[in-house]
C-alpha cells in the first residue's frame, strides 16, 4: 500500500498547524476520516435522511437499507455468524457497559470471580470494578509480565472454576501489546466462564475474526477506524444476547407494550432503544468498505514497519524511555528525562505535531508503570516515515529547549 496516496484521501491532513504541515500522530485517540466516509454521511443527510424501521415511505426504506446494510458490513468485517449478533452502540464504552449492566449484573453473584488486568483502559476497568461492588463478586487481576504483557500462563494461573467473567483488551492503548485473547478464551471456556474482549485498539489495525477467537462479547468503536464518532459495535454470541437484559428501554426496541409489562423485539433490535445512530452506522459502513479496499493485513504490515522504524529512531534519543514489549501494534508510549509529557506535547504542537500526553485513561497501568503520565505517538494507514522523522526532530528540539532553559 502507498501511504502517500492514501493521505490524499484524508482532507484534514492537508493543512498547516502553527505554521507547519500537520503531522497527526494521535490515531489511537481518534483516527482521521477519508472523503468516502465524510461523503457517505453527507449524502445520507442530503438525500435520504429518515427514521428507520417504521416509515412506509421511500426515504424510510432507503435509510433502513443503509442502516441494516452497514450491520451486514460489520458482520462480514468481524466474521460474526449472523447480523442478529451485531448491535450498534455509541462506542466501545457503551458496548462494555451494556455487557456489564445487561449481562454481568444479572448472572454474577456473590463469591463469583471477575478477572481483568491492570492494563485495561478505564472503559474496560471501571464497569467490572463496579459490577464486583454491586454483586459482591471478587475482582481479580491477571499479573502482568515485566514488559506489561498478559501471558497465557499468568491467565491460566488466575482463572478458576469460580471465574464467571474475564474482560481483557485485545491491544493495549498504552503499551501496544497484543494479548493472546484466543488462548485466554479457551481457558475461560474450560472453566465455564465468558470472555469479553475490548477491541477498540484492535479492530482498526488487525484482522478480527470473532468466531476464530471464540470470544463471547467483542466491543469496538467506529471513530478509531476511519469512521464517525458516536458509533460503535457490541458483538455477542446469540445464546448470551438472548439471555441478556436490555439496558435502554424505549421506542424501537419493543414487541408489545402493556400497562404492567412489555416484551422486547428480537435480536439485535432489543438493544437498540430509541432512534438509532443512523448516520453513524452508514459512516461506519463506508469506513469498513474503505479499510477493506486497502486490506487490513496491508494496514497491519504498514503500521508494523512504521512502529519498528519509530522505535529504532526514538531509541537513539538519549534519556528517552519506551514502555511496553518489542512486538506491538502501531504506537509508542514514552517519557523523556528532560521534559514532562505535557511539556513535550506542547512543544511538538508548536511544530504542528499532534501526540497525546497524560494517563491515556489508564490510571491503574500508570501506577503499575510507576509514572504519573506518559507521551504517546500512534500511527495509522496514512502515516509515513517522514511523520516519524518530524517527531524525532521535534523531540530533539524539545530536549534541547528544556536542556537549555535548565542550564
Amino acid at each position: 500500500m502507498n501511504a502517500k496516496e492514501i493521505r490524499e484521501l484524508f482532507p484534514i491532513l492537508n493543512q498547516s498547524v502553527n505554521g507547519h504541515p500537520l503531522v497527526y500522530l494521535d490515531s489511537a485517540a481518534t483516527s482521521q476520516k477519508p472523503v468516502q466516509v465524510i461523503e457517505a454521511v453527507d449524502r445520507y443527510y442530503r438525500e435520504y435522511n429518515s427514521n428507520v424501521h417504521r416509515g412506509v415511505h421511500t426515504l424510510g426504506t432507503l435509510a433502513t437499507d443503509g442502516y441494516e446494510g452497514a450491520r451486514e458490513k460489520v458482520r462480514t468485517f468481524i466474521n460474526a455468524k449472523e447480523t442478529a449478533e451485531v448491535i450498534f452502540t455509541r462506542g466501545t464504552t457503551t458496548s462494555l457497559n451494556f455487557v456489564a449492566q445487561g449481562y454481568a449484573r444479572n448472572f454474577i453473584e456473590e463469591g463469583d470471580e471477575i478477572v481483568i488486568t491492570e492494563v485495561e483502559h478505564h472503559s474496560n476497568f471501571i464497569p467490572w470494578q463496579q459490577i464486583a461492588k454491586q454483586t459482591g463478586a471478587t475482582l481479580k487481576f491477571i499479573p502482568l509480565a515485566e514488559d506489561g504483557t498478559v501471558t497465557v500462563q499468568a491467565a491460566e494461573q488466575t482463572i478458576t472454576s469460580n471465574t464467571k467473567l474475564v474482560a481483557i483488551g485485545y491491544v493495549s492503548n498504552v503499551l501496544g501489546s497484543i494479548n493472546p485473547v484466543k488462548e485466554i478464551a479457551q481457558i475461560v471456556h474450560r472453566h465455564g466462564g465468558v470472555i469479553v474482549v475490548d477491541g477498540a485498539q484492535a479492530a482498526p489495525h488487525l484482522k478480527v475474526d470473532v468466531q476464530e477467537l471464540d470470544c463471547d462479547f467483542f466491543a469496538f468503536s467506529g471513530h478509531k477506524m476511519a469512521g464517525p464518532t458516536g458509533i460503535g459495535v457490541l458483538y455477542g454470541k446469540r445464546t448470551l444476547l438472548e439471555k441478556m437484559e436490555p439496558v435502554e428501554y424505549g421506542g424501537e426496541m419493543i414487541d408489545f407494550v402493556d400497562l404492567y409489562d412489555s416484551t422486547w423485539k428480537e435480536l439485535p433490535w432489543k438493544f437498540e432503544g430509541g432512534t438509532p445512530i443512523i448516520a453513524g452506522a452508514i459512516g461506519l459502513g463506508a469506513a469498513i468498505d474503505f479499510v477493506e479496499s486497502i486490506g487490513i493485513d496491508a494496514i497491519r504490515e504498514h503500521e508494523h514497519q512504521l512502529v519498528t522504524y519509530a522505535m529504532e529512531r526514538l531509541r537513539q534519543i538519549d534519556g528517552l524511555k519506551i514502555y511496553g514489549p518489542e512486538e506491538r501494534s502501531g504506537l509508542v508510549t514514552f517519557t523523556m528525562n528532560e521534559a514532562h509529557p505535557h511539556d513535550i506535547a506542547t512543544v511538538l504542537d508548536t511544530e504542528g505535531i499532534a501526540i497525546r500526553a497524560g494517563h491515556h485513561c489508564c490510571q491503574p497501568l500508570m501506577k503499575w508503570l510507576k509514572v504519573s503520565s506518559t507521551a504517546r505517538a500512534s500511527f495509522y494507514l496514512y502515516n509515513t516515515e517522514e511523520d516519524i522523522d518530524a517527531l524525532v526532530k521535534g523531540l530533539i528540539k524539545t530536549k534541547e529547549y528544556f536542556g537549555n532553559v535548565f542550564s
Binding site: 505535557h342 506542547t346 508548536t350 497524560g358 494517563h359 503520565s373 529547549y401
Partner: protein, 143 residues
C-alpha cells in the same frame, strides 16, 4: 520558538527546577489535595492560617513544568496575605488565565514572578495546569 518562550519563561523554569516551599509540615496544617483528572497532575497543598492570615504554605505533587512552577510561585505569593487577599489573588489569577484581567489590574496587583505565567493564557490546553495550585488554595481557604 517565540510563542514557546512566552510559555516557558526563564522564571517559570527556575521555579520548576528549584521549587520553593516544596515539602510537608510535620505538625498540623490546613491540607488540600487536588488533581487534574484529565492529565494526572496532582498537588497536596498545606497552609498555616493564623488570625485570618496565611502565615506559611508548602506543597508536594507531580506534574508538568507549568503546574509545578505555578504551585511554587503561588505558595511564595500568599505567605503573609490575609485570607481575603489570597482569595482575591486566586480570582485575579483565574481571570488572567482566561484573558479577562486588565493590564492595569495586573500591574496594580504587583504579581512579581507570577506575571511570567501570563503567556499560558495563549495555550488553552495548558491553562488547567497553571490554575491547579490556585484552585487548591481557593478550596482550602473557602472551607
Amino acid at each position: 520558538m517565540s510563542s514557546l518562550d512566552d510559555l516557558y519563561r526563564r522564571v517559570i523554569m527556575d521555579h520548576y527546577q528549584k521549587p520553593r516551599n516544596r515539602g510537608e509540615f510535620e505538625d498540623g496544617a490546613l491540607t488540600v489535595n487536588m488533581n487534574n483528572p484529565t492529565c494526572g497532575d496532582r498537588i497536596q497543598l498545606q497552609m498555616k492560617v493564623e488570625d485570618g492570615k496565611v502565615t506559611d504554605a508548602r506543597f508536594t505533587g507531580e506534574g508538568c513544568s507549568i503546574s509545578m512552577s505555578s504551585a511554587s510561585m503561588m505558595t511564595e505569593a500568599i505567605k503573609g496575605l490575609e485570607v481575603d487577599e489570597a482569595l482575591a489573588r486566586a480570582d485575579l489569577f483565574s481571570r488572567m488565565m482566561k484573558g479577562e484581567a486588565s493590564e492595569e489590574e495586573i500591574e496594580e496587583a504587583d504579581l512579581g514572578d507570577i506575571e511570567a505565567l501570563q503567556g499560558v493564557s495563549k495555550f488553552p490546553a495548558r491553562i488547567k495546569c497553571a490554575t491547579l495550585a490556585w484552585k487548591a488554595m481557593e478550596k482550602g481557604l473557602r472551607e
